[in-house]
């Protein structure tokens, strides 16, 4: 018994995406931060996950939120995969990818992530300052939790928020990755 070939599966998935038969599609990309899982809904990137996040559970969540017609499709994911790889390897300072934040259920969570648009590459802010900037000056802790639930890390730059007391603070992908991202963006800025 032989398994269907990767080329066959990719052709099938591409046809499914082209015929608009899917609710979401996913692919992987190797980067200096590890092998990332990248999931697109029909409207944009809806989830990026680090390898330790547990793919089966994660795709089940995507199915519950967007629908069960989920396929692995590299060709349709290609522009995003290439942009992420170039950004994380330091070859590009731009990361313009459309995102779908449908996985963020609360209005507050969406406001926190939208607030990150004011923190450009190479700069950082604090949990307290971001909370104040979106009109909830006393919600620094809740802001931290909302950032921790960011479904699209890297593209939505929650790594640019650090504790006022110093250090890099928490990160869904681990402090080491956060430090790496901040150094990458600082270096790019200095150039």
């Amino acid at each position: 018994m032989r398994a269907p070939s990767p080329a066959f599966l990719e052709r099938l998935a591409t046809a499914a995406v082209d015929e608009q038969l899917v609710d979401a599609f996913f692919a992987h990309v190797e980067t200096p931060l590890g092998r990332l899982l990248v999931v697109h809904s029909t409207r944009g990137v809806c989830r990026i996950a680090f390898p330790e996040n547990g793919e089966d559970r994660l795709l089940a969540e995507i199915a519950a939120a967007f629908g069960p017609r989920i396929v692995a499709c590299e060709s349709a994911s290609r522009p995003t995969l290439d942009a992420l790889a170039a950004y994380l390897e330091g070859d590009s300072a731009q990361l313009q990818i459309s995102v779908d934040l449908a996985l963020v259920r609360s209005a507050f969570g969406r406001a926190v992530l939208a607030g990150l648009a004011r923190v450009p590459r190479g700069e950082v802010t604090t949990y307290g300052a971001l909370a104040a900037a979106i009109g909830h000056p006393r919600a620094a802790r809740a802001t931290g939790s909302a950032l921790g639930r960011n479904p699209v890390p890297i593209v939505v730059p929650c790594h640019r928020v650090v504790p006022g007391s110093g250090g890099v603070g928490h990160y869904g992908g681990g402090a080491e990755r956060k430090r790496h991202l901040l150094e990458l963006e600082r270096a790019g800025q200095a150039r």
């Binding site: 032989r2 269907p4 052709r11 099938l12 038969l21 795709l59 519950a64 069960p68």
Partner: protein, 155 residues
């Protein structure tokens, strides 16, 4: 709570090899991938309409079987008409094969497969046996059992 539908791709990964094998037995190695591809796209279209995530393997087998039988029916019609094996009237009556397909529709997938291989694709029992993974006498036996059940459905 009904079992939720799993991401479609996990089904493809779990059952893809077995389904390809199944398609290959029915239509042979050269057409198996095409049949599987058509079947999986058909399955994807119907997938959100399923009420629950149970018996999905059997559901996929059924779709692959149906697509394979359609393919055999098309091939059979082409071959029969081009070889002149069918009487003139039947050759110009593409409904002949469809009528046969309708006729055997109530039978089990296994029975449909053996009858289509025998009477539409017009294969010898040795070839049918190879596709179904059984001996030629067993293939002949399955065909005669299928014809018996067909008679029962007609009476």
């Amino acid at each position: 709570m009904p079992e939720p539908l799993p991401p479609f791709w996990t089904l493809v990964e779990e059952h893809g090899a077995a389904l390809l094998d199944h398609a290959q037995r029915l239509v042979g190695p050269s057409d198996a991938a095409d049949v599987l591809g058509d079947a999986l796209l058909r399955a994807l279209r119907a997938y959100p309409g399923l009420a629950h995530g149970e018996h999905l393997r059997a559901w996929l087998y059924r779709i692959v079987t149906n697509v394979a039988l359609d393919q055999l029916a098309r091939d059979g019609r082409r071959e029969l008409t081009s070889s002149g094996a069918l009487p003139e009237a039947a050759a110009h009556d593409p409904g002949g094969v469809e009528a046969f397909t309708d006729l055997i529709a109530p039978l089990s997938d296994g029975a449909k497969a053996v009858l289509t291989l025998r009477y539409v694709a017009d294969l010898p029992y040795a070839e049918i046996a190879a596709r179904l993974g059984c001996s030629p006498p067993a293939a002949r036996q399955r065909a005669s059992t299928a014809i018996r059940s067909l008679r029962e459905t007609l009476t």
